[in-house]
Symmetry: C2
Subunit: 312 residues, 2 copies
């Protein structure tokens, strides 16, 4: 099979042996695979793939058709449209995935949308609902509302009956984010718009003190990105006074059981929203697998709303 391959921090397309599905695994004929920030880091050697994933083939998510079943795999049949988060190796013509990590592709979604769904929607759903336990009627603040996880979080929270405010740095993107259902504000002085019950933090430590200030009593902060810095001062007395909590998390390093559980929750609580049209996957641009290098450049350039997706 052909696959995007990292060679000396460059992206090339290379032939690899076809993967063979092990017990409980499914062989997927990949049709689309979204790009994510972690791919950019991995390309530069900064974010090695976890054990059990291909070392040199990037790609944290994929959508495609079931091409073969490993021993004991029974959740899906040959030809089914499926999608999943994977530890790596998604940007290839073929990939093997444990059947418990796979989700069915909602009928309303085309391949590009399906290939760009799993990572950001699972991350957003896990952070906002499983960790921060957002409730109907609560107020959510999304830092970085124009990003993939941000746009997913806004839509899921709105569909769950929450009120959403989102900070967006780029003035050009604010109207598009507002269309997703959020009150859109500039990052400066965001605490004037609080208090918020839940804050989804994709930017990092520079927001830490103001986040606590903007938090309602009993509020929760979910930290899933630190692009602007990791270390900041935390006032524990303020944390106690607000009776607040701060979560940190990443999906990639979790054991199979936890990834499968997150996939089941997304399947039950979020996937029906795509068929009803309440939630959609914004796709900024698609590139054929052969043009992966151009796709990565487009991703790194930023200024887009929605996913960059490789199509096979």
């Amino acid at each position: 099979m052909r696959a995007v391959t990292i060679r000396d921090n460059e992206l090339v397309i290379e032939e690899h042996p076809d993967p063979v599905p092990g017990a409980g695994e499914v062989l997927i004929s990949v049709r689309a695979a979204g790009l994510n920030g972690a791919d950019m880091l991995q390309r530069r050697g900064l974010y090695p793939a976890p054990a059990g994933s291909p070392k040199d083939i990037p790609g944290l998510e994929l959508a495609g058709e079931v091409a073969a079943l490993g021993a004991g795999a029974e959740r899906f049949a040959i030809g089914d449209r499926v999608m999943a988060i994977v530890g790596g190796g998604g940007q290839a013509e073929l990939a093997t995935v444990h059947e418990r990590q796979l989700m069915p592709v909602p009928g309303a979604l085309d391949w590009a949308a399906a290939g760009g769904l799993p990572e950001v929607f699972t991350t957003a759903h896990d952070a906002v609902f499983t960790q921060a336990e957002l409730r109907p009627g609560e107020r959510l603040l999304v830092h970085g509302g124009a990003g993939g996880v941000g746009t997913a979080a806004i839509q899921l929270a709105r569909a769950a009956g929450a009120q959403v405010t989102a900070t967006v740095r780029s003035e050009e993107l604010r109207a598009q984010v507002a269309e997703l259902g959020a009150e859109v504000i500039a990052p400066e002085g965001f605490s004037d718009y609080g208090p918020f019950d839940v804050i989804l933090e994709l930017v990092g430590a520079p927001n830490l003190a103001e986040n606590l200030q903007a938090l309602a009593g009993g509020g929760r902060i979910a930290v899933i990105g630190v692009s602007a810095g990791a270390k900041g001062e935390l006032n524990l007395l303020a944390l106690m006074g607000k009776r607040a909590r701060i979560h940190g998390s990443t999906l990639r390093a979790r054991p199979l059981e936890e990834k499968a559980l997150a996939a089941r929750l997304l399947e039950r609580e979020a996937l029906p929203l795509f068929d009803s049209g309440a939630v959609r996957v914004p796709v900024a641009e698609t590139f054929p697998l052969d043009e992966a290098a151009a796709a990565y450049e487009r991703f790194a350039a930023g200024g887009k709303l929605g996913k960059i997706v490789l199509t096979v």
Copy 2:
């Protein structure tokens, strides 16, 4: 009634009008009332009582007999032995408490033990089980294991099937804390004894970085005290890498509903342990109400294991 009274940061015994129980409230003839760190702060004018509590009578917990019932109060009968956390006013001959905040006193406990139970055991139970969700078989680290909340947390966690390690600064107290069922260590280099699933933080910001280092994947830190400092650097990337969370909380400022819920949970999950003998209330010394000033001095001097309790 006579009550401990704060006048110009000094403690005196003064006559006050007898309190009258309102709807749903119970009048308690107080038999014992424990001292807590918040009393020391309130005496110095640093921790004003919340709205609805006496401004000048300290005391966050009490035990006594039901002396009269307000309109609609029905959970207890005249003469019942009860105890509770109160917003203030516990160090007096009489006090009114909403019946939903009251708990029955376990038969095995004398008045001094009952008067010193509610605050530290509710705080420990809420932090360790309700917030940090300690599970059987997990490892708990208690910072400040010789304090009132520390000794409560050690015993409750042991009774719930967890393994407990406690830091104790005073060498003289270590053997007594070990008798409660904890592995007792010096505070220096505590992370060598990890990883811990839950850390109960009673000391504050100086431990923050090492706490994160000592935490197991998926671990939780519950911050309920900052005696050694409130502000410290938090590494959000480390928090994400451990998929950890940090809780801050105080009991005192909570609304009645939440205090009542905490009392119900303690009633169901912890009080039976006092009758079985699995858990006890360490009482260091009792003082008559008239000697409140001496009791406060004894509390502030430290170096004790167990509660200082005023008896009426």
